[in-house]
């Protein structure tokens, strides 16, 4: 009986990959441990090994095939070269290129039958981008790298340090190619010693340099909290304005996928509380690039929170020599009049999907991407709430003392008379992140939660 070789999942967030190159050919005898093929993920090129012994009777997915979903059969190992009878029956089918979104199925079922045409969504004119600018489709990952590379070309004093940023090309491939361009002096692999290297980076900033510190993930920055807060954030004040720490702390933040409690949390609210640092958390690639460039130029310490799941997502990025986005400015990404949905980072995924689904019900939501957490652009939120009279805040972080809590308090203080309903918060559940797939899903917010919250503030 033959067995299928399946497309493997090679990282917590991998959903699909590329069969880069077969290292065996049909008819070859393989034993367990033999390297069969090279698989390219969004982070790295990896080898897959045979687990079963036999003859590689058929290659189902050829060299260079992209977007092969995890668990798709890519080859068959049989007892001999003609054995392609896989247990369970049917002839393997080639990989579907894209899965149907289950949420869209749900939407189709839930959408009321009488609504046949959704009202047209209003996408506000982007005043940040000059008219006629060409756009380039870019992943968030590439946008972050481009931002660092451009700023390092412009300023000799900017350098990158962190674990695996140089020779390994970045644990999440953010710094890919940077060692080759800038050399080991400016792209520096550190030992695994967050407390120490963060302190060294802050000291280097005191000494006149502009460090970019990459935390492989922000979970590890907890070891460096003292230097981020006590050394970087407070020195300008404590020195009466004489010296501060112009630097960026950046890296993956928030839940990835199935990595459990110690690797899954959003630190926005932690850092947002600290006077002396700025906190940025972009969603799109254009904002990731423009804000990171601004963060590197900023004369203050900036905590730049990225999201692993967004790294591989593509967005249009303006094709400009020097594209920057100002820190401290939120962006209305969809105009509407029924409710204001405020979110940031991956929360925008839920907010935008909910807005689509609400539009099908004739509810036009205005969606604001906060982009910067501190200083928070309250005027943009207040202006919107004065128009919609309702507000829902969406985030993946915990609900207690959250960004949503802060926005709720501010909206209450500044726009109490305009509110027709209490501000609603959609957040992660107040539990450590569980590992089991079903529990993890329950712990995180989703578009349905946002739709429900919007309906609750609309009393429908």
């Amino acid at each position: 009986m033959a067995v299928n070789v399946l497309m493997p999942a090679l990282s917590p967030t991998m959903e699909e990959g590329k069969v880069a190159k077969w290292l065996v050919k049909e008819g070859d005898t393989v034993v367990s441990g033999d390297v069969l093929a090279e698989i390219e993920t969004d982070k790295a090129t990896m080898e897959i090994e045979a687990v079963d012994e036999g003859v590689l009777s058929k290659i189902l997915i050829g060299d260079g095939t992209e977007n092969v979903l995890v668990n798709t059969p890519i080859a068959i190992i049989g007892e001999d070269a003609n054995d392609v009878s896989v247990a369970g029956g049917s002839e393997p089918t080639p990989a579907p290129v894209q899965q149907e979104s289950p949420q869209q199925d749900t939407l189709a079922q839930e959408a009321p039958a009488q609504v046949s045409v959704a009202p047209e969504q209003v996408i506000p004119v982007d005043t940040e981008i000059p008219e006629g600018t060409a756009m380039v489709e870019t992943t968030v990952r590439e946008a972050l790298r481009d931002a660092m590379a451009e700023e390092m070309r412009a300023d000799e004093n900017v350098f990158l340090m962190g674990e695996e940023v140089a020779e390994y090309q970045g644990a999440y491939k953010i710094s890919q190619g940077m060692l080759e361009e800038f050399g080991a002096k400016r792209v520096i692999d550190t030992p695994i010693t967050e407390h120490g290297f963060t302190g060294i980076a802050v000291g280097a900033a005191f000494g006149g340099l502009k460090p970019i510190v990459e935390f492989m993930t922000f979970n590890f920055a907890m070891q460096a909290m003292d230097h981020i807060i006590n050394s970087a954030a407070k020195t300008l004040y404590m020195s009466g304005g004489q010296m501060g720490a112009p630097m960026v702390f950046r890296g993956a933040n928030g839940a990835a996928a199935r990595v459990g409690a110690q690797h899954s949390q959003d630190y926005s609210a932690w850092f947002a509380q600290i006077p002396g640092i700025k906190v940025v958390q972009p969603f799109s690639a254009a904002d990731a690039k423009g804000l990171l460039k601004s963060a590197i130029r900023d004369p203050n310490p900036v905590v730049f929170l990225e999201n692993e799941i967004l790294y591989g997502q593509k967005f249009d990025v303006p094709d400009l020599d020097d594209w920057t986005v100002p820190i401290g400015k939120a962006k209305v990404v969809r105009a509407g009049d029924a409710v204001t949905i405020v979110s940031f980072s991956i929360g925008m995924t839920y907010a935008l999907e909910a807005a689509d689904r609400l539009a099908a019900d004739g509810i036009m939501a205005e969606v604001i991407d906060l982009r910067t957490i501190r200083p928070m652009d309250m005027p943009t939120i207040i202006e919107s709430v004065k128009k919609t009279n309702r507000c829902v805040v969406v985030e993946e972080g915990w609900p207690i003392c959250s960004i949503g809590s802060e926005i709720a308090a501010q909206v209450m203080t500044q726009a109490f008379d305009y509110l027709d309903a209490p501000v609603a918060r959609v957040a992660g559940k107040d539990v450590p992140m569980p590992y089991a797939a079903n529990l993890e899903k329950l712990a995180l917010p989703n578009a349905g939660d946002v739709v429900d919250a919007v309906k609750s503030v609309l009393y429908v």
């Binding site: 350098f159 002096k185 550190t190 030992p191 010693t193 407390h195 120490g196 290297f197 963060t198 302190g199 060294i200 980076a201 802050v202 000291g203 280097a204 900033a205 005191f206 000494g207 006149g208 340099l209 003292d226 230097h227 006590n230 050394s231 020195t235 300008l236 004040y237 404590m238 020195s239 009466g240 304005g241 004489q242 010296m243 501060g244 112009p246 006077p275 002396g276 700025k278 130029r297 900023d298 004369p299 203050n300």
Partner: protein, 339 residues
């Protein structure tokens, strides 16, 4: 890797100071002593708030280090920092006015005793978290190496901080990256109330704590300014030759409590008395001045009077200067672009 040269320095072969050096050292140490006595007095009068950690007894350490420094070298230390600031030639009036929390203080009254800085004088603080200044100081060394400016960062910490994990993280990186940093361990015997023997493994050889990282270390008599300077001369040369970091353990002693609110019941009065009588860095220097006929008693008295005047003027200034304007509450939190 070459075996790290770690050793205890011998007192017998110390290079004698010239007349200028001895007088300069005596003056610098006495200024710190008188300043700290005055600070203690003002604290007792309620003019200085919060924590106040005096440097009395340890004056030879920073003085000897400073004498070995060159223009552009930096200094960074913990919260026991008044002596370091005076050694860096920071204005005694500005330091004292910071202690009293006034606008004219070096941090506009917003830093206090533990948090003062002077970019102009290359003094990088004044840090209140035990051990945090160690990676920061290594970072200054990192910047020196990056800019190739030839400067050395002198990073001071106590024997208490020498047990912090980040110190060893810093040793490791300073060594692999060959950072020009001199780690000066000011071993005054007590981390607040805990004797070094009770808190540090192999407490008699803290200078050896970098040896596994390949960092040479020596122990020097931190009560003898000549021994301090001599150890530093070697260390600075080592750093400037591009050989990476260096550790000097200064055996020293503080006469006062850990802070003004510490009754120091963890040691005997006799122990303190013995150190004062037999090892006082200023008395030792004075004896050499007189013996070498660098100055006579009358001249030293005049010097003391001059220092007392400087300190007394600083104290008057610090008490008369206005408190910071209420608007200062909201300044210096963020720097504007282009500042």
């Amino acid at each position: 890797m070459a075996k790290a040269a770690t050793k205890k320095a011998s007192k017998d072969k110390l290079t004698q100071f010239s007349k200028d050096e001895e007088l300069k050292a005596y003056y610098a140490m006495l200024l710190i002593r008188r300043f700290e006595e005055k600070a203690g007095q003002l604290y007792g009068m309620g003019k200085i708030g919060g924590f106040c950690h005096l440097y009395i007894g340890q004056e030879a350490v920073v003085t000897g280090v400073q004498m070995a420094m060159q223009d552009g070298d930096q200094m960074i230390t913990s919260y026991r920092d008044h002596g370091h600031m005076l050694a860096c030639d920071m204005d005694p009036k500005g330091v004292m006015a910071e202690l009293t929390g006034r606008q004219a203080g070096l941090s506009k009254g917003k830093g206090g005793s533990m948090h003062m800085f002077s970019r102009e004088k290359n003094f990088y603080g004044g840090h209140g978290i035990v051990g945090a200044q160690v990676p920061l100081g290594a970072g200054l060394g990192f910047a020196n190496k990056y800019k190739e400016n030839g400067a050395v960062s002198v990073t001071f910490f106590g024997e208490g901080a020498a047990n912090q994990g980040q110190v060893y993280e810093s040793f490791n990186m300073a060594s692999i990256w060959k950072l020009p940093v001199i780690f000066v361990i000011e071993n005054n015997g007590y981390a607040m109330g805990t004797a070094v023997k009770r808190s540090a493994a192999k407490s008699e050889e803290l200078f050896n704590r970098g040896s596994v990282y390949g960092i040479p270390g020596v122990q020097a008599d931190g009560m003898d300014v000549r021994a301090v300077k001599e150890a530093c001369d070697i260390a600075f040369k080592h750093c400037r030759d591009g050989k990476g970091p260096y550790i000097i353990e200064m055996k020293t002693y503080r006469y006062r409590g850990h802070s003004m609110s510490d009754p120091a019941k963890y040691r005997s009065k006799e122990e303190v008395k013995k150190m004062r009588q037999e090892h006082d860095p200023i008395e030792q220097s004075k004896a050499r001045v007189l013996e070498g006929k660098f100055a006579d008693e009358a001249e030293l008295k005049a010097m003391d009077a001059e220092i007392r005047k400087i300190v007394s003027e600083a104290a008057d200034f610090a008490q008369a200067a206005p408190e910071p304007d209420a608007s200062e509450l909201w300044t210096d939190i963020y720097m504007e672009a282009g500042e």
